[in-house]
Symmetry: C2
Subunit: 231 residues, 2 copies
């Protein structure tokens, strides 16, 4: 029987890459995002990650009797600025909506639809391991995500038995948007999306390869070589 991958944020750069790879490996894919991923076996379009939209997704997945072996949150975003910036209060709301509600929402979907022995992956940020005054709302929402990852890894978190929750903490992903925003960077030190997709597939298909539950893995790429280091 084929296995299922569910991604919140399945239409973004990282999410699309993961879906393509898992499909190529024979997995069935379920994408949830603000716009459809037409390459995904199932694609559910949502308008937000608030409770009513998540309950709508829940009904759709229940009615199709769909569960997942791996669930990933690839949704999120970045806004810079400190507490005195003109856009500060707007950045707070954006970061809470994009990073925090998506992480909490993925945990909700995990509690309902992750299979036993499944894998749940949330996206943190290596930068949030330290204070982040210059991107103050971003860092705080990612620190909350890190805490959520550790809580979800506890046995009484509401996730199914023998499931594993892991956090991936990228520095800079090699995406078209980032190349446009930072054209003079050294791309050899950015993490290729295919690298993360391959790593998630390894963890998904070989349970013994998974990091310990609750691990926060810094993804560090230097000279085109990527390492995953538990913090």
């Amino acid at each position: 029987m084929s296995k299922n991958l569910l991604i919140l944020g399945g239409s973004g750069a990282l999410g699309s890459e993961i879906i393509t790879l898992f499909k190529n490996k024979g997995w069935k894919t379920i994408s949830i995002d603000f716009r459809d991923n037409t390459k995904s076996d199932i694609s559910i379009s949502i308008t937000s990650t608030n409770a009513s939209e998540l309950h709508r997704v829940e009904e759709i997945l229940k009615s199709t009797n769909t569960k997942a072996d791996t669930i990933v949150c690839a949704a999120g975003g970045w806004v810079g600025g400190n507490a005195a910036d003109e856009g500060y209060l707007g950045s707070v709301q954006k970061m809470i909506d994009m990073n925090l509600y998506s992480a909490f929402g993925t945990a909700f979907l995990g509690s309902k639809f992750l299979n036993e022995n499944g894998l749940l992956v949330l996206t943190g940020a290596n930068a949030a391991l330290q204070p982040t005054s210059f991107m103050i709302a971003y860092g705080a929402t990612k620190a909350a995500t890190h805490h959520l990852i550790k809580s979800l890894a506890q046995p009484d978190s509401g996730l199914p038995n023998n499931s594993t929750t892991v956090g991936i903490l990228p520095i800079t992903l090699d995406t078209p948007i980032n190349r446009t925003a930072m054209p003079n960077s050294n791309f050899d030190d950015w993490t290729p999306l295919s690298d993360i997709a391959n790593k998630l597939y390894e963890w998904s298909s070989i349970p013994e390869s998974r990091p310990t539950g609750g691990s926060l893995l810094s993804i560090i790429t230097k000279n085109k070589v990527t390492t995953y280091t538990p913090q």
Copy 2:
């Protein structure tokens, strides 16, 4: 010239206690809360801590040329439950609204109205120093608050020069609501509100007594003796 205290959450149990003490010491007090604190010199009633309400508060304080030497976030709340609880998604929204928007909002007010050499205090939670699967949304929002405290303590955070940001991390406060909710507890191990009010007054009036900026202080009460331990 008298000094000014501004509190977000000035009508709650902790906020009221702090306002009363600072008033008794000759400070002018500004309370911001969902309901008025009639004992406060200035009381601003808000309907939420979203951007439009905070900008309204900003206009009021600007028009009265009001600044503050100490700014405290005493707002917040608690909801339990793990990711599988029926009320999980509701608890996520409550905890983000009550704990996180209030903390970010206090930082906003700090960037606009804290005087140089001022003190900004946010309320974290001792429990959030560890994973909190049984109160999963609460812990994550308090972990975000801890991160925000550390970011605000950096020199380029947007707060005024020589200001100090500190986090207080209570375990259980001795409030009427908590006595009603947990009547069989040992109240000698709960922290009296007056104790925290006195400590905030000490830090406010004697700058040399302040903890290092960015400190997270666990407030531990045992047999009626309270200690403040940096984490």
